[in-house]
Amino acid sequence: MEAFEYARPTTNEEVVKLLTGAKGGAQVLAGGTDILSLMKDGVARPARLVSLQHVKELRGITFHPGTGLRLGATATFEELLENPDVRKHYPALAQAAEGVSSPQVRNTGTVAGDLCQRPRCWYYRAGFGLLAIYNGKPLVPDGDNRYHAILGNSGPAYFVSPSSLAPILVALNAKVKLHGPQGARELPVQDFFLTPKNDQEIEHALQPGEIVTEILVPAPGDVKMAVYEVRQKEALDWPLAAAAVVLNLEGDTVKKVRVVLGHVAPVPWPSPEAEEALTGKSVSEDAAWEAGKAALSKATPLSKNVYKVQLARVAVKRAILRAAKGEA
């Protein structure tokens, strides 16, 4: 790891100043579970790290039945899991946090860090860049792409969005609040994630000097929700495919549904196809499976990840059934 400067501000304003004022680039340090490995691997080389740990206004989780949930940027997975309001009103958010199956990461990793963490693409992590270019050619299409995207992968980006929280946040129409040199702004979580089109772009909407300060989740209303992740190992592993579902039921019939897939595309992937397939149906194994198939109807798997199409279908199906059952 290269030498760097370490700053420990206490307000958002100071954070933004410290981020913009560093020669050689500054980066935010939240829980450090990702940024420190990026630095050790020489993928990130900030000249300054700006810690959020002492910024009080970035902390905490609050819930109001009328307005919904506010997650401070530095709230940890564990705080999310332990929060009774989250468990009661947003059980799927707790399910997603539970999936991050290492107590260490849950204790230190933060919710904003989960949205801002960089992709796990093994070419990117080995130093070939986010778009994994080698001798002028992209490595992923002809390389080992077993963990790469099956949707939204027409290039040049082939990685998958790593965030476990993002799909359910998108499905719940959550927003991120950002703070930067130009002040504060809000974006739907969906719009926070971007597919880079060239090597100047990255996978989210943060402008230089900007940070995520809060995540705002609307009051859920009378819905059922669930997340289902397909993971190979029980712990310390990433989902191979995931789906988040928010269901509005009228009796047995689906009045409205949001389906968002995770770990299948460079961004969290909403599926209007699945939503259409399920709307107006009563929830059954067959209807859920049809929705899963619809969600992947436009999948374009790469040479080694056809299997992910099936896993994503199953994730959608099981998330729908899990939501309908109201399992916590």
Binding site: A126, Y134, L139, D142, D144, Q232, L236, Y307, L311
Partner: protein
Amino acid sequence: MAKCKYDWPEASDRRLIGKRINRIDGPTKSSGRAKYTYDINLPGLLVAKIYRSPYAHAKITAIDTSEAEKLPGVKTVRIIQGVGKEIQWAGDEIVAVAAVSEDIADDAVRKIKVEFEQLPHFVHEEDLQQAGDHAKEAGGEKGGDPDKAFSDPDVVISEGFYGIPTITHCCLEAHGNVAEWTGANLRTYSSTQNVSGLPGQIGQALREQGVNVPDNNIETICNYVGGGFGSKFSPDRWGIEVAKLAKAAGKPVKLMLDRNMEMEVAGARPSGYAQIKVAAKKDGTIVAWDSHSWGTGGPAGTTMPPLPYVLNIPNKITRHTSISTNTGPGRAWRAPNHPQAALLTMCALDDLAAKLNMDPVEFFSKNADLAGERAEVYRQELRKAAELIDWQKNWHPRGDKSAGTIKRGLGLSLHTWGGRGHNSNCNVTIHPDGSVEVTLGSQDLGTGTRTVIAVVAAETLGLPVEAIRVNIGDSKFPSSGASGGSTTVGGVSASTRRGSVDALQQLLAVVAPSLGVPADQLVAVDGHIQAKGDAAKKLTWKEACAKLQVKTLQVTGKNPGQCALGSSGVGGVQIADVSVDTETGLVKIHKMVAAQDCGLIIDLKTAESQCYGAMIMGITYALFEEKVMDRATGRMLNNNMEFYKLAGIGDIGELVVHMMTGPGYDERGTIGLGEPPVISPGAAISNAVANALGVRVPTLPITPDKVLAALEKGGAA
């Protein structure tokens, strides 16, 4: 048989041997007091890092280390492979740097500039057709008349492709050494499986490279090792380099491999693939075998695994192709070539049994005679393992026909290993104050070597285990063999037994006059020296030792030596019970059982622990492990603990170990156990998956993509 003086005590006389005894270094390890090579921090210590080739195959055309040398804190920069050298794998060592801190050493490495002429590389061997010039015929064998046997119209033939990829050893303590010169003497703190052997290897390499140091001036110390598995017998190039850096800098230097390099260059179990044809009569008698195997162990290729494995099939033809690849060189991995042989053989035979509609337990029991002298052992182990997994109740023919998407299956595998004790010398010392030491240049890889030595000495001297002080891990101690090939327990238990028996005999001779009983009528029991059959005539151990007055008693014990205390050759059967989610292709282990013999067991607990550890390692390579190489860059993609997946506690299921002991087993004396239980898990799990699905997933690891692909092709599930 006539009693020989060193013979193991009769079963009725064993107080400690064969019981479950806690490892004596457990508290030291679990409290963090155990010092590994990583923990050695000498005054003035420098840290070394290595510039490594980013290319899998390239010629070095220029090296510029000037910027690195200028960096404050950099003490020595040494070129390991200079201009003109051809690099054969990514990660190979080119320049070493020693600096006052790890950070500075890293910075210096980043400032080194090396130019290469890139050459074509080859890193994927699974598809033999693509190997071209990299493939070389590497022998084969013919026995009986395979052509005739296969063309018999009455035989049932099964054909298939099977494989097991290259995996890395993934030692949790990376390879590395600390080297310290004091005048003309070199001391190394090495993470090694070979304490007594290392100085000779280091000395020879240093002399060949112009550093004149006699072996006798070199001392290697290793008190604890964080895993070796066959990858730590040699000092390796980095172990020689660290000695040279230390000499050049005039300071001690530590050089431990980084995780990525541990994965890329310091461990590789060679792969094994094969196209196999097998035939049996309709009654299940196996008659013929035909295999064409191939694999890689890096630039040097591979040798043929012992095929067909365990069962000596009367008509057979084998052929092996060795493939050289530009990947980190292969190393011995726990039971070299046996996990490969087991997977290839036991899966092919299991497919044949399925084609014959035979229950595998019945099929393998029926053919056990082909295992020769151990046929009956295998039959007993098959029975035991089947009982432990409740085979009668849980087994079904190929393809779980029950409703639902979760399919369950059972699968088994057989294995064998030698495990004869290695050469070992030890000093057994009895001090006048009653303390006892056993001293030898062995090492404890975490297997329980220390404990075994203490148990044997304690049993022989009639003392509790805690009364024995075991000194190992220093090459200045009497030389004892490397820990590899399951040779350690056999070696150290035999030398310790002989030394302890002789030491006791000398002590008894000293004590005899004061008890007024002839020495040959005295025995050591329960911390006393007493007359046989007359417990009234006795001294406590301490009182007895006091008779030595100022003379410390020291005896050398040796293996091999008089009286056979060990032998060679074990069997073993494992059965896996798995379930497979046919929608996701995920495999979960419910339970695995092992029935394992290893002759006379010294410590039942550490023996069972060997089996548990081996089964966990086996589940890991069956379901998760493979070295993923990238075609374009020639580099390993999963050179970290994130993508190089290892089983966690939740992935393991229930493990049951049954050690075969008692009459028929104990008389064989001690036999090693490190290798055998790690051989079968891959095949047993693959067979269980095939039993669940009704279709074979041909290669390990059995990952969701492969399960789903196999199901696409068919399967009863």
